[in-house]
């Protein structure tokens, strides 16, 4: 029973998908937006259950669950981000789809299944389950991406996403096979322990090959350069609420699993023999994503494509955050995931869903050419939509007092604190890239507020659901920027649970009420490190850092601390 309770957020989403599918048959044409509210309500129930689990965690008991799924702060945090994006996307779709002549309830059930897959992905600790979660999420999205039948870009978006996604899945499977060949296990925590302990039976080439294959596969899902080619086309061709979901939830889920897999494996001593270390690989992807994403964003004229390149650039900043850990960058203070990364993903997901949401509500009457001149004068014609666009885009650009600013500041600062000697040039590059990005973000706002509307400006779809979603985006973005304390604490405990193998956690989690969850490897006692740290060549001596305090805001106001 308590196992069912632990899995209830995911089960609630799956049930929502089935319920909506059944209700779709009973609902007549033209009344489908009602299903969006059912879907959003299902996601809200699931979110409430996830929040309850976060407050009072339940351990997993059944033998087939331990080592396969983990209900920990990491999973719970990203479940929340995914569900939030899902609710907002469902509400936006309620207004958008009828206007585009897409009268089908299947969008909502597929959205619910995609959310289910994403949740399975972030709570999976077994590589096969992880793969299945990724496939459930992606398969539903391939269909959703091709949803706009009238548009010539829709088929291209669907096919492109399907083929490239299939290749990425093949890479992931091959990486899993290599890992299984090297360690004989599919349980990520056990693999992490085996690799960290080292040993004569583990073939270094297999582990190194697995690492590269997994990074390629997950790099595709997070849209990092050079695996980004699908992103602008798919984002442009997909129905805009689906694009919002892809940019928000899918990126969050993919980053959650990327951080978990790479960081759990990265402590393997055998990886030290690689010509190009895993850390350098991630750093290379990060730098390429920041530079290419922002530079190509400048030359775009379609707002959806601008936001797609913005999403690529944000993947670059986030990869820098994933990189700044002990195992990848030699940062002695960060044993697990950098604590700024989950918060950044939350702020980014909300802002990007908001920006795409405004575009969704501008898709009047089947046509959806969203080049910059068509949104000219938006601020005057539709002040509410204009304000939502302003808040979302400024948050993506990282201007105070919005969530995006705090997230970016926190991320860059934490990266610098983690690896002061190595990270400085890359953080400078990231800041410069953000300044370049300001150009295209402000260009959107320039058109929206200071240009005279042309002959056929984009008209807004009137609708309660979309307005509600955008209002929520604006409020949340402001809250994240002004009163982020609670979210920063949550982000920290999520980050500390990211690495699966318990031997990785040297410093205990801070004793906050939300973080009191040792049930991550439920059912099995915490495993001590096999080697004393002094004998392990990969673990550098710990820098005497101050104990992490629950009020993370303190770290924010002492930038000179390093």
């Amino acid at each position: 029973m308590s196992d069912l309770l632990s899995l209830s957020p995911m089960l609630a989403c799956a049930f929502t998908g089935l319920l909506v599918m059944a209700l779709d048959l009973l609902t007549g044409t033209g009344r489908k937006p009602f299903l969006a509210w059912v879907t959003a309500a299902g996601f809200a129930v699931s979110g409430a259950l996830a929040l309850g689990l976060w407050q009072a965690p339940v351990a997993l008991h059944a033998p087939f669950l331990s080592g396969v799924l983990a209900i920990d702060p990491h999973g719970a945090f990203f479940t929340g981000v995914i569900l939030l994006s899902g609710v907002l996307a469902a509400l936006l779709a309620a207004d958008y789809l009828p206007e585009q002549g897409i009268d089908g309830g299947e969008v909502y059930s597929l959205l619910a299944f995609s959310v289910t897959g994403a949740i399975l992905l972030v709570i999976a600790t077994d590589l096969v389950t992880l793969f299945l979660g990724l496939e459930i999420m992606s398969l539903a999205l391939y269909v959703l991406a091709a949803g706009k039948r009238a548009s010539p870009f829709a088929a291209e978006a669907g096919i492109k996403y399907l083929l490239l996604g299939g290749v990425a899945s093949a890479f992931l499977l091959m990486g899993v096979a290599f890992l299984y060949g090297a360690t004989g296990s599919l349980d990520l925590a056990a693999i992490g322990r085996l690799l960290a302990a080292g040993g004569p039976g583990i073939d270094p080439l297999l582990v190194q090959g697995a690492m590269v294959l997994l990074i390629v596969a997950l790099g595709f899902k997070v849209a990092a350069v050079p695996f980004h080619f699908w992103t602008p086309d798919v984002y442009e061709g997909a129905p805009t609420p689906v694009t919002a979901f892809m940019a928000g939830a899918v990126k969050a889920a993919a980053f959650a699993v990327l951080a978990r897999v790479v960081l759990t494996l990265a402590r393997a001593p055998v990886l030290a023999g690689l010509d190009v270390s895993t850390g350098d690989l991630l750093l290379g992807l990060s730098v390429l994503s920041m530079v290419v994403g922002n530079v190509l964003g400048i030359v775009q004229d379609n707002v959806k494509r601008i936001l797609a390149y913005s999403s690529i650039a944000h993947a670059g900043y986030l990869l820098l955050g994933v990189w700044a850990t002990q195992s990848l960058a030699g940062a002695p203070g960060v044993q697990t995931l950098n604590e700024a990364v989950p918060f950044y993903l939350l702020a980014y997901a909300i802002a990007t869903v908001g920006a795409f949401g405004v575009l969704a509500l501008l898709g009047r009457a089947g046509e959806e050419d969203l080049s910059l001149p068509r949104i000219a004068g938006l601020g005057r014609r539709h002040p509410a939509l204009g304000a939502a666009l302003l808040v979302s885009v400024l948050s993506l650009a990282g201007l105070p007092p919005l969530g995006g600013f705090l997230a970016k500041f926190h991320l860059f600062q934490q990266v610098l604190i983690a690896a002061p000697d190595r990270a400085l040039p890359w953080v400078v590059l990231a800041v410069l890239a953000s300044v370049v990005a300001l150009y295209y973000y402000l260009r959107i706002l320039l058109y929206a507020y200071f240009r005279e509307p042309e002959d056929t400006p984009a008209q807004a779809i009137p609708g309660a659901a979309g307005t509600l979603a955008l209002a929520a985006v604006v409020v949340l973005t402001l809250v994240l920027g002004v009163a982020p304390g609670r979210f920063l604490v949550a982000s920290r405990s999520a980050a500390q649970a990211a690495v699966l193998s318990p031997s990785a956690v040297v410093a205990p989690a801070p004793a906050t009420p939300t973080a009191a969850d040792p049930s991550r490897v439920a059912g099995s006692p915490p495993v001590r490190p096999r080697l004393p740290e002094a004998l392990n060549p990969r673990l550098r001596p710990l820098m005497p850092l101050p104990a992490p305090s629950p009020a993370s805001r303190q770290t924010l106001v002492e930038p000179g601390a390093r």
């Binding site: 087939f64 597929l110 399975l120 299945l132 979660g133 398969l139 039948r149 080439l205």
Partner: protein, 178 residues
């Protein structure tokens, strides 16, 4: 060289040759020829799985891939009703050359990694495990419903999504019923 090794090499060569024939001219130019070449690969793989004592997987490989999937491919190719002039225009571009070079490099790397890493199969413990009903219906079924119950159940959701998705994509453009 044991008889097993002889069979292995025959199957290995035919499976790789079949896979190459799928994408390379002259067979790769004609979809139906490519499908037949793929059939050779599928069957050879089934043989390799028998050599690995994975009898159930070998049977499923023949039934599902060499059987059902191949019939599906053939149907689709025939329904597309391609004419000869549709099949021309095979050009070697710089991107394709880069892709082929990367693929060859990756194959060589993976081959080296695999040959180095699979010494575990010489282990007597592995042989003892293989003798114990390994790869049969009973053993796979037991594992599927105990150790791998969560992936097993998740697969049902995956198949549901695939079916729903296929129906939606295949539906007529006017939005009518399937």
């Amino acid at each position: 060289m044991t008889a097993q090794m002889v069979v292995f090499w025959i199957l290995a060569v035919t499976s790789v040759a079949g896979a190459l024939a799928v994408v390379l001219p002259p067979f790769g130019r004609n979809p139906l020829h490519a499908a037949v070449a793929l059939l050779i690969t599928f069957t050879s793989l089934a043989g390799l799985m028998v050599l690995l004592s994975a009898h159930l997987v070998a049977a499923l490989q023949v039934l599902v891939y060499a059987g059902a999937v191949m019939v599906l491919f053939t149907f689709v190719v025939m329904l597309l009703n391609l004419r000869r002039q549709d099949l021309t225009g095979y050009r070697i571009t710089a991107w394709k050359a880069v892709g082929v070079a990367a693929m060859i490099a990756l194959s060589v790397k993976m081959g080296i990694a695999l040959t180095a890493g699979l010494s575990a199969f010489d282990d007597p413990a592995t042989a003892a495990q293989v003798a114990n009903d390994f790869g049969g219906v009973k053993a796979v079924g037991r594992d599927l419903l105990t150790t791998y119950l969560v992936p097993f159940e998740a697969t049902s959701l995956l198949l549901l999504v695939a079916i729903v998705g296929a129906v939606i994509v295949a539906r007529r453009r006017d939005g009518g019923a399937a």
